[in-house]
């Protein structure tokens, strides 16, 4: 396989506890630390390991969004990707639109494999990979916790509700990653320097000539209804008594 495309979404760092704005218009994100979506970082790590085994020649990282996404692409290049593409737009894209943009890049780059996270930790949609696979008319292996390549096919272990499902898919294909697939490497300082010399191409979204629409309008953002803090019991005896009193045993 000549090339792997890895999608990196810029999201709020997973350590940040985000809150809803007081006026309910959205999330309070000013000055918040941003990062590569952790699932996408795992996707990139998997691509790097595939390349280190000599099973692919080039890794292209792509991001869709504002100019700031360059930071995440630079991090991806520092981790070891060869080249980056930013499809620049100030408009937030719904998953179907994101999949259409990625499909346009897939047509241009003709990768053997597209790797991306199973979901982004901001919108928690879990859709883009599946939609890309549909538009591309190629196989999808979602929630991957093990990926084994052999020539023109891949055996993927998928984490499903019932356990581990093993499927075999023909390449080219889309694989979305689960947390247990691997542990991404840390970026070293010399690699950050080297990454500055790598190519980062910026493609304005309009140049792709796609017809994208919005189907959904968010009319309200609100905090979840909190659970009331309960009681602390002194010992096991009181725990059993409390459960009995509440008719729970």
């Amino acid at each position: 396989m000549q090339k792997i495309l890895v999608c990196l979404k810029r999201v709020v760092d997973y350590n940040v506890r985000v809150r809803v704005k007081a006026d309910g218009s959205g999330m309070a994100l000013d000055g918040v630390k941003m990062a590569i979506n952790p699932f996408d970082e795992i996707a990139l790590e998997e691509a790097l390991r595939i390349k280190e085994r000599g099973e692919t020649e080039e890794i292209v990282v792509v991001s869709l969004g504002t100019k700031e996404c360059e930071q995440q692409l630079r991090t991806g290049l520092a981790m070891g990707a060869d080249r980056a593409i930013l499809v620049e737009t100030d408009t937030a894209l719904e998953p179907l639109s994101a999949a259409r943009v990625l499909k346009a890049l897939v047509d241009r780059e003709a990768p053997g494999l597209v790797l991306l996270g199973k979901q982004a930790i901001d919108d928690d949609n879990n859709q883009t990979g599946q939609m890309l696979a549909a538009l591309w008319d190629r196989p999808q292996a979602t929630f991957a916790s093990e990926v084994v390549l052999s020539d023109d096919r891949v055996t993927v272990s998928r984490e499903v509700d019932a356990g581990l499902e093993i499927i075999e898919i023909d390449l080219p294909a889309v694989i979305t990653t689960e947390l247990r697939l691997n542990e991404p490497r840390f970026v070293k300082l010399p690699d950050i320097m080297k990454a500055r010399k790598k190519t980062l191409e910026i493609v304005p979204l309009e140049e792709l000539g796609l017809e994208l629409e919005r189907q959904f309008t968010v009319t309200k953002v609100e905090p979840p209804s909190d659970r009331q803090k309960g009681i602390i019991v002194a010992d096991v005896a009181e725990l059993v008594q409390t459960l009995t009193d509440r008719g729970l045993l």
């Binding site: 928690d124 883009t128 890309l132 549909a134 509700d161 019932a162 968010v218 979840p224 009331q228 602390i232």
Partner: protein, 315 residues
């Protein structure tokens, strides 16, 4: 008027409870009918299950050898072909539905809504984002089919008091061969209640330390007739298999009684249990975030508390 198509989740023999939960969501707004599509190699038994769900109008039984495993690439073109007659197409927000429904939506050229928690009219929906740290209200365009996954913890399954018509259909959608099912490996014992639907769940965290010690969680679960769950940390540490994971990236559950033992309560775990009836937490760290949402907390060393609790339940 709305007509809703629900994609049945099943294992070839039995209907998964998630389907009855989707029917419950569909029945929560005005509609002209709720149909359930059963795709299987031989869907007779599952279709009979689906026909008993209260509120279902027609069960569409689509038998095909290729439908033996629920592969999204195989099922999606069939669902998309059926969908033309409907205003809404729903699946559960289980790994099955999350895998399948976006592929269905994209084939239809429409977007998809994930994890719907409630809807008043089938056009405006509420759903969680940021691991449940916020709830958004989303309005969809009137001229587009609504394809969505239903958050299973947000609805109660409908009763099995219905008697829908079963209609056999054959579809001539072209089915791909590029995706092949190989095997399913499961850790879950079959005698134990199903984690996703159990009324009681006992979950253990990394504090258990080893797979051997995790046996205490099973012992407690046995006393309570409960299903067993685990935190992500416990799964990562290899104490139990991934199918037991509760939380944002595992199962979102809503049992009547939930025991969190040796689980500190990372936000990702709390996301998975917010809808539980009563949450009991046992943890030696009094500052653990789990106590912020627990209804009953016990600050104690689990290695002392668990055996005592099991003893007391026995006597």
């Amino acid at each position: 008027m709305a007509r809703v198509l629900i994609v049945a989740e099943h294992d070839g023999e039995h209907l998964n409870l998630s389907t009855a939960i989707c029917v419950s969501c569909a029945a929560s707004f005005d509609n002209d009918g709720i149909d359930v599509a059963v795709l299987a190699a031989d869907g007779q038994a599952v279709a009979a299950d689906a026909a008993r769900l209260e509120g279902v109008t027609t069960v569409l039984q689509i038998d095909h050898p290729a439908n033996e495993a629920s592969l999204a690439a195989t099922w999606a073109p069939q669902i998309a072909a059926l969908a033309a007659d409907y205003s809404h197409v729903f699946g559960p927000s289980t790994t099955f539905g999350k895998d399948l429904m976006p592929r269905v939506a994209a084939l239809m050229g429409v977007g998809q809504l994930s994890d719907i928690m409630s809807t008043a009219d089938g056009r405006v929906f509420r759903r969680p984002i940021y691991a449940g740290n916020a709830i958004v209200t989303v309005e969809t365009r009137d001229d587009r089919t609504v394809v969505a996954t239903v958050r299973t913890a947000s609805y109660t399954a409908v009763e099995e008091t219905g008697s829908a018509t079963i209609e056999k259909r054959s579809l001539d959608a072209e089915l791909p061969t590029h995706t092949r099912f190989v095997a399913l490996r499961s850790d879950t014992g079959s005698e134990r209640p199903d984690l996703q639907t159990a009324a009681r769940v006992v979950s253990g965290g990394r504090a258990l330390g080893s797979a051997d010690k995790f046996q205490m969680i099973y012992d407690l679960a046995d006393r309570l007739g409960a299903a067993v769950g685990a935190s992500r940390a416990a799964v990562d540490a290899g104490l139990v298999g991934n199918d037991l994971q509760v939380g944002q990236t595992g199962k979102i559950i809503a049992p009547e009684l939930y025991f969190a033992v040796g689980i500190s309560g990372a936000i990702q775990h709390l996301t998975g249990i917010k809808d539980a009836g009563t949450i009991v937490a046992i943890n030696k760290d009094a500052e653990a975030p789990i106590f912020e949402i627990a209804d009953i907390g016990l600050v104690a060393d689990l290695f002392a508390a668990l055996p005592e609790l099991i003893d007391r339940l026995d006597s």
